[in-house]
């Protein structure tokens, strides 16, 4: 399995740093003024939040090799924990609630990660499925989590940080962007430390890692903890900054699978892969559906259009995975390498 940790040539490293810088300038400096509320509310905010969740899952599954199908459950834990911290401890600022929610999700993640000490591969995936169903059931069953609201759907509080209200589409987008940037940087730094190398060692050859002295038990639990922290914060953002309501069924098995597909298509074991995959699975269907209804709108009903877009998306995914089984990131690296013939592959 190729990873992004092979040292590339200096020019392509500089190129990616420059392109990241340009992206940030556009994201912070241009879009907030030029973008419409549709762009923020329906395209960028969900894209960023799902990318963050995918970064978290990639740390666990791509780097540490522990397959998890319970991602949406940890997002739900983060969302409901953030809501409850914010509600019950009145003096707590919003950011602190979100951080505490992340820690709560990390704790739940470590508990459900304990089977990983004995189970591998598909068997571990099944035990994380248990997390998925249990969390969804518990949040519905115990009314305390949704403040005994009779309908069980909770309204998120308005976003305000350090007294500045962020309640507009632009404000929510900037809030999400900042948190995603922060956590992605942390994840990227983590991957390049000894812990990150331990993750990769446990993934590639667990017995050999144990022999050379990698603390496998601690590494696996740390992987679950860090990953669930990031996923929990993503869940809190999903509730507070995007939908602004939360119901347990929004964090169902389909959402878990969606995030797994994002990292598989984007590229396992890479940080960029989360963003590429989320772009394909979140932004591209919207673009396709706008295009479809523009070209064919009057003649077919919305259900038929919807299904044909799914066919197109599925065919595209199959195509990408045949052309490059290691995901979009590897495809992108191949493409950029071909563009700059000076760099030796």
């Amino acid at each position: 399995m190729t990873t992004a940790s092979l040292t590339p040539g200096i020019s392509s490293r500089a190129a990616s740093a420059v392109s990241l810088f340009v992206l940030l300038i556009v994201a912070y400096g241009i879009l907030p003024f030029a973008g419409s509320s549709y762009l923020f509310e329906a395209i960028l905010t969900p894209f960023l939040i799902l990318s963050l969740a995918a970064v978290g899952l990639n740390l666990l599954t791509g780097f540490a090799g522990q397959l998890s199908l319970g991602t949406a459950a940890f997002m739900a834990v983060g969302a409901f924990a953030a809501y409850n911290f914010n509600l019950r401890i009145a003096s707590l600022p919003l950011l602190a609630s979100i951080v505490l929610a992340g820690f709560t999700a990390a704790l739940i993640g470590i508990i459900f990660g304990l089977p990983s000490l004995r189970l591998r591969g598909f068997y571990l995936a099944v035990s994380t499925l248990a997390a998925q169903f249990f969390v969804e059931w518990a949040l519905t069953k115990f009314g305390w989590f949704s403040n005994n609201n009779p309908s069980g759907v909770i309204d998120a509080p308005p976003l305000a940080v350090f007294g500045i209200s962020l309640d507009s589409p632009t404000g929510r987008y900037l809030f999400t962007l900042t948190i995603v940037l922060l956590l992605t940087t942390l994840a990227w730094r983590l991957v390049n430390t000894q812990t990150g190398h331990n993750f990769i060692a446990v993934r590639d050859q667990e017995l050999a890692a144990r022999v050379i002295g990698v603390p496998v038990l601690r590494t696996k639990l740390l992987a679950f903890g860090v990953s669930s922290f990031i996923v929990g914060v993503a869940g809190a953002l999903w509730a507070f900054a995007y939908l602004r309501t939360v119901e347990p069924h929004g964090f169902n098995l389909d959402r878990s699978f969606e995030i797994v597909f994002i990292i598989i298509i984007g590229g396992l074991g890479t940080i960029r892969g989360a963003f590429f995959g989320a772009a394909l699975l979140v932004i591209f269907p919207l673009v396709l559906s706008r295009l479809g209804s523009f070209l064919l709108g009057g003649r077919f009903d919305s259900g038929v259009l919807e299904m044909s877009q799914r066919i197109v998306l599925g065919a595209l995914i199959i195509f990408f995975l045949i052309v490059e089984p290691n995901g979009l990131v590897s495809l992108w690296q191949r493409f950029t390498r071909q563009l700059s013939p000076k760099t030796k592959p």
């Binding site: 329906a42 069980g152 309501t245 119901e247 706008r290 493409f335």
Partner: protein, 461 residues
């Protein structure tokens, strides 16, 4: 294989192809987002419909009926006082984030009359948004129960029936079958509910009514999706209730009826709620559904004058929305027609006050708040027997809709009761309590009757 993919990735060919494709994409995207200009005499309905996905049967029926009625008004009357009705559909598959995306996409269209999502999750996500946009949100037969209180939710209208009224209606019907609600004393009722917030919502109301009338109630949960209910129905057999209320959703309904037959509970003693009352819920159960009764706010059947007119005018002109014409007159189709009637009459009432032109969201909201259709007016609209009446006021956004009960005879639904009125007086204090708590939490000022006559509805927020 290698050479062909390599050649595809050859930079110059790739780039040329890529830039051509991306230019076309960009142009199409820009074109699709820009709206064509709208004339001043058109009123728009954005539809967050679901025609695929697990609830497609309900969605195609409801939105089909709604569009059929809008088409009828356009074809037969030339619009509402000359103002044509237009609409655009966005597929949501009943998912909240897609509903939000359709909302964001369509909200800047001029002359939006109202939003009609037919989904609790999407409705909840939209309450804040439409309040800021000042466009009404209609949640017929469902929605947030405390939005009945118009003092706190000026823009949300859970027309005809909210979950609390539905519960009271069911108890009143069971009482009428026993010979009067006093005869309920000492009886036993089991409520089999779907394991979701929707299912749990009416638990406190059943307890309240049980205390009032002296019957015992037992709540049994069926975890989503409800394919397997053997243990629940064995519990019911042991409890030996007089009636079972089915508060189901989707596949839970036919499975409940089949399992009831297997465990020997008579279908004639099962009463279904408003989301367990359609053909799609009973046909898969086959024989087991004969004798099953369910509550409804609109009767089924194609014999009502307005449905006949739709068949003649709309389907006759080839503009009918349902692909399978046998579904005309089904429960969801008729619900869509009734919803169409309510929306159009609200527009008509608002036009009488504000002028016969395309109206703003605020003006349509005023129309909904004065939506009073008494049985005589309902008959004039061709809907006598289809639904009873509605009486929306500034602080009662439900409108005191009446319910009737229909029984499945194996082939179709037959109405078996009169129009029953729920016990609104009993339920109103609970609704007000919940609504005022919400208002306190969000810092909303309660409206007064004096505020209600002025527009805009809400000064703050």
């Amino acid at each position: 294989m290698q050479t062909s993919t390599r050649s595809l990735l050859q930079p110059w060919r790739f780039l040329r192809r890529r830039s051509a494709i991306s230019a076309a994409f960009g142009a199409a995207l820009a074109g699709s987002i820009a709206f064509s200009s709208v004339r001043a005499d058109e009123q728009f309905f954005p539809l967050q419909s679901y025609r695929v996905g697990p609830y497609a049967a309900g969605g195609t029926g409801f939105f089909g009926g709604f569009i059929d009625y809008l088409n009828l008004i356009n074809l037969r009357d030339g619009g509402v006082n000359g103002v044509k009705l237009t609409w655009a559909e966005g597929e949501t598959q009943y998912e909240v984030e897609r509903g939000v995306e359709v909302y964001e996409r369509l909200k800047s269209h001029p002359a939006i009359a109202a939003w009609n999502p037919l989904s609790v999750g999407i409705a909840y996500a939209m309450i804040d948004r439409i309040t800021q946009d000042k466009v009404p949100l209609i949640t017929v037969n469902h929605g947030r129960t405390d939005s009945t209180d118009g003092r706190v939710f000026p823009y949300v209208f859970p027309l005809l029936l909210n979950p609390y009224s539905e519960t009271s209606g069911i108890i009143n019907y069971i009482g009428s079958k026993e010979g009067g609600v006093e005869k309920l004393k000492g009886k036993k009722i089991v409520v089999l509910y779907h394991g979701s917030p929707y299912g749990k919502e009416t638990i406190p109301i059943y307890e309240l009514l049980a205390k009032k009338y002296g019957f015992t109630v037992q709540q049994i949960e069926v975890p989503h999706p409800g394919n397997e209910q053997q243990s629940q129905w064995l519990t019911i057999r042991r409890a030996k209730p007089d009636y079972v209320v089915l508060r189901g959703w989707g596949v839970m309904n036919p499975v409940a009826l089949k399992t009831a037959q297997k465990t020997g509970f008579p279908a004639s003693h099962i009463v279904g709620n408003v989301w367990s009352n359609s053909e799609e819920d009973v046909i898969p159960a086959g024989d087991a559904a004969k004798g099953y009764t369910a509550i409804t706010t609109q009767a089924s059947g194609a014999q009502y004058p307005v449905v006949q007119e739709i068949v003649k005018t709309v389907y006759g002109a080839g503009k009918g929305n349902l692909e399978d014409q046998k579904r005309i007159g089904s429960v969801y189709h008729n619900l869509g027609i009734v919803n169409g009637i309510l929306n159009v009459e609200a527009i008509r009432i608002a036009q009488d006050k504000f002028g016969k032109r395309a109206l703003t969201g605020e003006e349509v909201r005023w129309g909904f708040e004065h939506l009073k259709l008494d049985p005589a007016r309902v008959e004039a609209l061709g809907a006598k027997g289809l639904f009873h009446s509605i009486n929306v006021t500034w602080d009662n956004h439900e409108g005191d809709g009446r319910v009737t009960f229909q029984q499945w005879d194996g082939a179709k639904w037959k109405v078996v009761s009169d129009w029953i009125a729920p016990d609104w007086a009993l339920l109103r204090p609970i609704i007000e309590k919940s609504a005022t708590a919400y208002a306190a939490e969000k810092g909303i000022k309660l409206r007064t009757a004096a505020d209600a006559e002025s527009t805009p509805a809400v000064a703050s927020k």
